[in-house]
Subunit: 465 residues, 2 copies
């Protein structure tokens, strides 16, 4: 009467693909393209390579109304994927290389697989992945996902000679989509990606044969973020237990100093004293209750320096300004980069641009351009912390902004861990520290706007007289 | 340099617990309570038992500010869990009994495990589950979750004699929470649960020793929904492949008629003809391309009757009306139950109550009370399809509703599959069919309101003369 089942992660996201953002043909087409482009950008940046990405979407057949079967091809010049990892990377959910303490666009280990899964269930066609890590071989895989087992099913594996010393990844798969109703969002995605990634060259050939070309604005690749140790704040008993279990340190004192960032001998001694744990105790000998005591002592201690921001990679004020000017041609623009902050032990940084006038059309609602880890967020605006800050925590009339105004706000939040509200990465949760930083940055820009609007006002009065 | 990892589903939700709704101590406390209560309500309804649920939250120690360690106990009189399933049911993500084609509150197979996981990582204490399915034994388990393996770690398993023939489940675990900032939502959750579940008796003892008692309004348990076969509309190649692989039918004709609801011999023959598949072909012999052709033929056919609604369990107009009157004491109330409809092959039904005046305070924003499968949704209002329909698709001035008005709208959507936007079950996605049904229901109630407001207006004019 009651039938218990265990389902694989692939099966879970197959049954609940709304939750991953694959809710209808037009949104699924958008999601598939963005998951591929974000993987390609990550792959180039890891190798400090100026990204060159080509996306080609071709209509294969019409299904019903605006819904069609498409072939999606994405080629990049990133660091490639080695043969031993290709099948799982693209056909296993929760398999990836971006689980470390460093800023990437990817974070869950499921985006590429989700796109392939969606393509597979709507067309029953396998996907093709061709990649080289720059060696003398190029590997070609044709595969599908065994959804119930969350495993790859390899139909073909060819090993080819790498004649031209190519390095990169080329992907091709088929999927049901709706370009007519998705086009605006897809083009916006490319346009905004170009703003946040001025070192990237992106080419998009759409089903109507039109070429959209976003040439790179600079050859200078941003300094890649560096993997950090975890910060003690926000470490819970699970993470602490794992660190203790895998540590090579022989004493609790050296464990504390070497397992965390921002923990020197002095703070280590104080925390261990608070926890009642001897500094020379072997980490492997720590008992269950001592782990709890140690985590609680860290919570009480509260004197750790803020996290090291070298695991973050912001856009930068100058590049952000250039990008916004190119896109909006505003009369007024003020860009703010806040100093690094942190939430739950993760460093993060907020960058904001406030643009007014010029090509921005006047409106009763403030136009928001949101970014997280250099990814444009184009859906779920009302669920995002930025919407809350701009529309509920700031009274724009106090900055002389009229009810109908040509006002646009561009926000970028970057961190080794963005608190996304959903697997589809469309909205950022309103963590208090992030909300506070956004508020500070937007208020600073708003004060500059107020000065500008006052000057305009005075000039207009003077002209009238 | 590039390090690949595979992580378990428990590890994924441990690292990304924001995505499951466990984002801060007050929300996590709320989530833990609701996951337990929803499991208890499901367990009673499956057995057609009037639910009696006792929830006790006790403060164990203060951590910092309003954050405390609590002990949460939940006891119900449901059908219990058998011993062989208890460990995995509560300590394995994606393990559950609610994956069938029938309306339950639970759907993902992870809620109970998430609550235990959160408790475990914030307190390092194991959880206790005591249950009996009504036999002569009561089983007691003390367990924790091995997060990296997504498996139970059983610390203790006692088998006791069931002296009183008890049937039900009793759960106890510890967790970090913030009752001060979560109390309002928790009390609302119980109040609203009582409205959607008038046959349930719920008792809540809070950390301040206060008893909140919601006695049952009726002993009559709603007819439990019945498991259905899948409807052909919305079946993709993956589901079709699984049905073919597990079918005991010997011909494609009997496969079509017996694997789906609403498929008789006539439609089966027409669909198979469209797909170019002989009716007497053995389902196990269907080739890859024939599966695709069959799925496409179903898409083209379009003449299937709407899904059978016996897998749905609505609240009912009378009970909904009683519940709304008790809570809001409105002057005007109009309740609408729409006929069954469907999206992507899943039947669903919309029930709406529109209340005006009485104890409802006047406001510029319309107060929304949202329910899905009899669960109150208290977060993420702006991301919900109901918010979109009420605030963006209806012009209330055409129904004589003033800018500031004492107006509340209660909505219930029920289905074997609710298209939740998030794992935390707080907002429903705007599937076009659901949006259309909500619009129809709310407009009908709004027209009744307009009549009422016109009468009031005429009466007021008459009195003035
Ligand atoms: N174009 C590519 N070039 C190099 N490696 C890639 C590429 N695409 C995917 N990968 C590898 O495959 C892994 C899995 O990709 P996938 O998109 O499923 O997850 P992710 O990017 O790690 O996280 P997310 O789910 O957030 O996107 C990546 O971590 C990366 O190592
Ligand atoms: N109080 C209870 N009484 C009887 N069975 C229960 C109870 N609580 C949990 N279970 C069983 O444990 C399983 C897992 O519960 P869990 O909450 O993790 O998942 P779910 O309820 O199936 O789905 P969801 O994640 O949407 O809540 C349930 O499917 C149910 O069979
Ligand atoms: Mg990715
Ligand atoms: Mg549940």
């Amino acid at each position: 009467k009651v039938k218990f089942e265990k389902i694989s992660p692939a099966d879970f996201f197959y049954r609940n693909r709304d939750i991953a953002g694959f809710s209808n043909p037009s949104r699924s087409l958008y999601m598939s393209i963005r998951e591929m482009v974000e993987n390609s950008l990550d792959a180039a940046e890891i190798g400090k390579i100026p990204p060159s990405i080509i996306v080609e979407l071709r209509e294969i057949e019409r299904v019903k109304g605006d819904v069609c079967i498409y072939r999606l091809k994405v080629e990049d010049n990133g660091i490639g994927v080695s043969a031993e990892h290709i099948p799982k990377a693209f056909a296993t959910v929760f398999y990836g290389s971006k689980y470390g303490y460093k800023q990437y666009r990817g974070t869950f280990g499921l985006g590429g697989t989700m796109a392939f899964l969606y393509g597979q269930i709507t067309t029953n066609k396998p996907a093709t992945v061709i990649s080289s890590t720059g060696g003398d071989k190029v590997h070609k895989f044709v595969l599908m996902i065994d959804i119930m087992k969350n495993e790859p099913r390899i139909f073909e594996h060819k090993v080819l000679k790498n004649e031209n010393g190519w390095k990169g990844t080329s992907i091709e798969f088929y999927l049901e989509g709706d370009y007519t109703n998705s086009k605006a969002k897809i083009i916006d995605y490319f346009k905004h990606t170009a703003i946040a990634n001025p070192h990237a060259s992106i080419m998009f050939i759409d089903p109507r044969g039109r070429l959209y070309y976003y040439p790179r604005a600079t050859k200078k690749v941003p300094e890649p973020p560096v993997e950090s140790l975890p910060h003690p704040v926000g470490v819970d008993v699970e993470t602490m237990s794992r660190l203790l279990a895998t540590s090579k340190e022989r004493t609790m004192l050296s464990f504390m100093v070497n397992s965390f960032q921002r923990v020197g001998e002095k703070s280590a001694k104080e925390v261990l004293k608070l926890a009642g744990i001897p500094g020379n105790k072997n980490p492997k000998k720590l008992k269950h209750d001592e782990v709890t005591a140690l985590v609680n002592a860290i919570k009480k201690y509260g004197k750790f320096r803020a996290p090291d921001p070298s695991s973050i990679s912001p856009i930068g004020e100058d590049l952000l300004e250039v990008g916004i000017r190119n896109m909006l041609n505003p009369e007024f623009l003020h860009v703010v980069q806040r100093p690094p902050s942190s939430y739950s032990g993760f460093p993060f940084m907020v960058e904001v641009g406030l643009a007014y006038g010029g090509d921005i059309p006047p409106s009763e609602t403030i136009k928001l351009y949101r970014f997280a880890n250099k990814i444009p967020l184009l859906y779920d605006e009302r669920a995002d912390v930025v919407w809350k800050v701009v529309n509920e925590r700031i009274d724009w009339s106090t900055y002389k902004v009229p009810r109908t105004a040509p006002l646009a706000i561009i926000t970028h939040i970057c961190s080794p861990k963005i608190p996304y509200k959903t697997v589809g990465k469309e909205a950022v949760a309103d963590r208090p520290e992030i909300e506070r930083e956004l508020l500070a940055a937007i208020r600073e820009a708003a004060r500059a706007l107020k000065l500008y609007l006052s000057k305009i006002e005075k000039r207009t009065m003077a002209v009238k007289r």
